[in-house]
């Protein structure tokens, strides 16, 4: 949790954004983040992000579900309370499959969504700084962390990459508990400045 200074560039189209990302990275700037209104395919690669491992987490949760279902039903039917259903075996594997399958899916889905929320640090009641209110509408926003010395230089560079608008913002880089209808202290200061 820290308040930092950012150079913000707003692009109008992803076709402008991609060459800009290339130029900015080529010039040695470290991109803090890029915000887009929808999933732009190939942007993660252009930013040098490695592929998400979320599916591996999903697999592990799924296997946990499988083992939980089989283990629990098996323990009940063979050890805890064995019963004779029409002379059938105490561990009727085919009849366990439906519940085992359902629990596999349930564990995988719930686990993955929770992991997704944890990794992205999103939750009801969490607030994040929105650099441009139209970044969830139709604008593509690139953000670079700057200090007092290189701020104007960075902003000028971003302007030259084809940004529609640029500005300098002092903002919380992380999330905090807050409401979107209320202004935080630094947001008010920023507006006064």
């Amino acid at each position: 949790m820290s308040i930092k200074k950012f150079a913000v560039a707003v692009y109008d189209d992803e076709a402008v954004l991609f060459p800009a990302v290339k130029k900015v990275r080529g010039a040695g700037y470290k991109i803090h983040d890029v915000f887009t209104p929808f999933a732009v395919h190939g942007l993660d690669e252009a930013l040098g992000e490695k592929e998400s491992d979320l599916h591996i987490a999903g697999f592990i949760y799924g296997i946990t579900g499988t083992c939980t279902a089989l283990g629990f039903m098996g323990w009940i039917f063979t050890t805890d309370w064995p019963q004779n259903f029409g002379g059938k075996p105490n561990f009727p594997l085919p009849a366990f499959i439906p519940i085992t399958f359902e629990l596999t899916v349930l564990f995988a889905a719930v686990g993955m969504v929770l992991t997704f929320c944890y990794l992205n640090q999103i939750m009801p009641g969490v607030k994040k700084h929105i650099f441009d209110p139209r970044q969830t509408d139709d604008k593509f926003v690139m953000v670079i962390e700057v200090n007092d010395q290189n701020a104007s230089e960075t902003e000028a560079f971003l302007k030259a990459t084809g940004a529609e608008a640029t500005n300098i913002q002092v903002a919380e880089s992380d999330w905090w508990f807050g409401r979107f209808d209320k202004k935080e202290d630094y947001e008010i200061q920023q507006q006064l400045a």
Binding site: G125, Q135, D181
Partner: protein, 476 residues
């Protein structure tokens, strides 16, 4: 930067001259404007139906299931008919959102949000029926395997009725998660354009603080893909398990191996019909004809004619196998379906499900909105009768002295009407406060499938191939 190129021969999925911003405006408009008179009237009708449903159920709980006209031998009646019907309806939403995602069908983006909402509401309605059918509903939690003081005494894990408990609750949970994870970015869009304090706050909470970071989008894509992969076998398993409620019994007419695929096809069939019923109205009232185009309606009608034909083949197969089995009771069960006391239900089912959908082979009819709406109602009636016919197989059992006829009592009809109330109350609230079309997903397909962008492709289509490749290589 779109690697996918779509031929101009394919119909555009977004009509009109749309930009990213225009999409946001169009889809958010019904949420940000005051509700129309039509919405208010519809909502009030639904809410009163729901109230009547609550009254009917309260009546049943107070007096016991005796107020329902169930008897020996017909122990399931309206209640389980409605349960199977509603669960089946839910299946179209998951098919659209999950299976069509895996098949990379672009047209799903226009309809998936509303279809999946429909799934969730339909499953909510379906769940009511077995729960209240338990009679002593305060003991409903007995179906859960919790550590109790009676041993502990566990539920019977090899009973299809218990599989249903797991299947339906998993189906509901996973559909809800899938739907909501798609809604998060769209709620963020609504939040950032909100003018009122209340909207800013509520969509702020609902959006989980989503900002649209590139890394988050990457994970979001991965999450959608894996959830689609999980939902695909899940949706097939749910109606399979529902069919096991019948198929694993030894009742003539129920004990057949054809039930799982036949139930799944029927579920998709009725689900798509319900999607059509809702969307034909929604697109008109919310002015979204450019996003849910005639092309979308036609695509869904094609699914209806396919699944309707599968269901038709299944009906005929059932009859043939009953004859070919040589089993006396099986033959008699099917003879009674066709010519017994419930012949009218059987023939209503045959007409609505098998004969009438065949009209969709005509392109003109597939693309006719009014005809589609009419047919969607017919199919829903037909599929309700299918379940009714199956459950009414119980009216003749092995003991002639207990043969009976069943007509529902008012609390049963009231309960059924109440489920419509629940469904439409939820749907009206959804249509007013939620984006009925996935905003972010439509933006994603705009440049490949939008009408204005497709028109620009004429130049590329006419260009020399060699020249085009050369240019593309230099561009990247």
């Amino acid at each position: 930067m779109h690697l996918k190129y779509e031929s101009i021969i394919r119909e555009p999925l977004v009509d009109g001259d749309k930009s990213y911003h225009q999409i946001t405006e169009d889809i958010c408009a019904p949420i940000e404007n005051k509700p129309t008179k039509l919405w208010t009237i519809g909502f009030l009708i639904s809410a009163s139906l729901l109230a009547f449903g609550i009254f009917s159920v309260t009546w049943e709980v107070y007096w016991g299931t005796g107020v329902w006209n169930l008897n020996r031998t017909i122990g399931w009646g309206y209640d389980i008919t409605n349960f199977v019907w509603w669960v089946g309806i839910g299946h179209a939403g998951t098919l659209i959102s999950a299976i069509l995602l895996l098949f990379r069908q672009g047209w799903r983006t226009g309809v998936n949000r509303a279809a999946e909402a429909m799934t969730i509401f339909a499953v909510m309605c379906a769940g009511q029926f077995p729960i209240w059918h338990m009679g002593r509903v305060w003991d409903a939690f007995f179906v859960l395997p919790y550590g109790n003081t009676r041993g502990p005494l566990w539920p019977n894990f090899i009973s299809p009725l218990l599989w249903d408990v797991f299947a339906i609750s998993t189906y509901f949970t996973v559909s809800l998660l899938f739907w909501y994870s798609g809604l998060i970015p769209d709620f963020a869009t609504l939040r950032d354009r909100a003018k009122t304090k209340f909207r800013k706050m509520s969509y702020g909470i609902a959006s989980f603080g989503w900002a649209g970071s590139a890394k988050h989008w990457q994970r979001h894509e991965m999450l959608s893909l894996v959830l689609a992969g999980l939902s695909t076998p899940l949706v097939l398993s749910v109606h399979t398990i529902v069919s096991f409620d019948f198929a694993t019994s030894i009742v003539p007419g129920w004990h057949t191996t054809i039930f799982p695929p036949y139930f799944v096809a029927g579920a998709v069939f009725s689900g798509f019909a319900m999607v059509q019923t809702l969307l034909v109205i929604t697109r008109k009232v919310l002015n979204l004809q450019e996003y849910i185009t005639i092309g979308h309606i036609e695509a869904m009608n094609k699914v209806i004619v396919l699944t309707g034909s599968i269901v038709g083949v299944a009906y005929l197969t059932e009859l043939f196998i009953a004859y070919y089995s040589g089993a006396l009771w099986e033959q008699e069960a099917f003879r009674l379906r066709v010519m017994g006391p419930y012949w009218w239900a059987y023939w209503a089912m045959m007409t609505c499900n098998v004969v009438s959908p065949q009209l969709f082979w005509f392109k003109k009819l597939r693309r006719n909105v009014w005809f589609t709406f009419f047919m969607s109602i017919i199919v829903n009636i037909g599929m309700w009768f299918e379940r009714f016919v199956i459950i009414m197989s119980l009216h003749r059992d092995y003991l002639p002295s207990s043969w009976s006829y069943y007509t529902p009592s008012w609390p049963e009809v009231g309960f059924y009407l109440g489920s419509f109330g629940l469904f439409f109350t939820c749907y009206f609230l959804f249509a007013k406060y939620f984006p009925v079309i996935a905003i972010a997903e439509i933006k994603f397909i705009l440049k490949t499938s939008g009408e204005n962008f497709k028109n620009k492709m004429d130049v590329i289509e006419e260009a020399n191939t060699e020249h085009f490749i050369e240019e593309q290589l230099h561009h990247h």
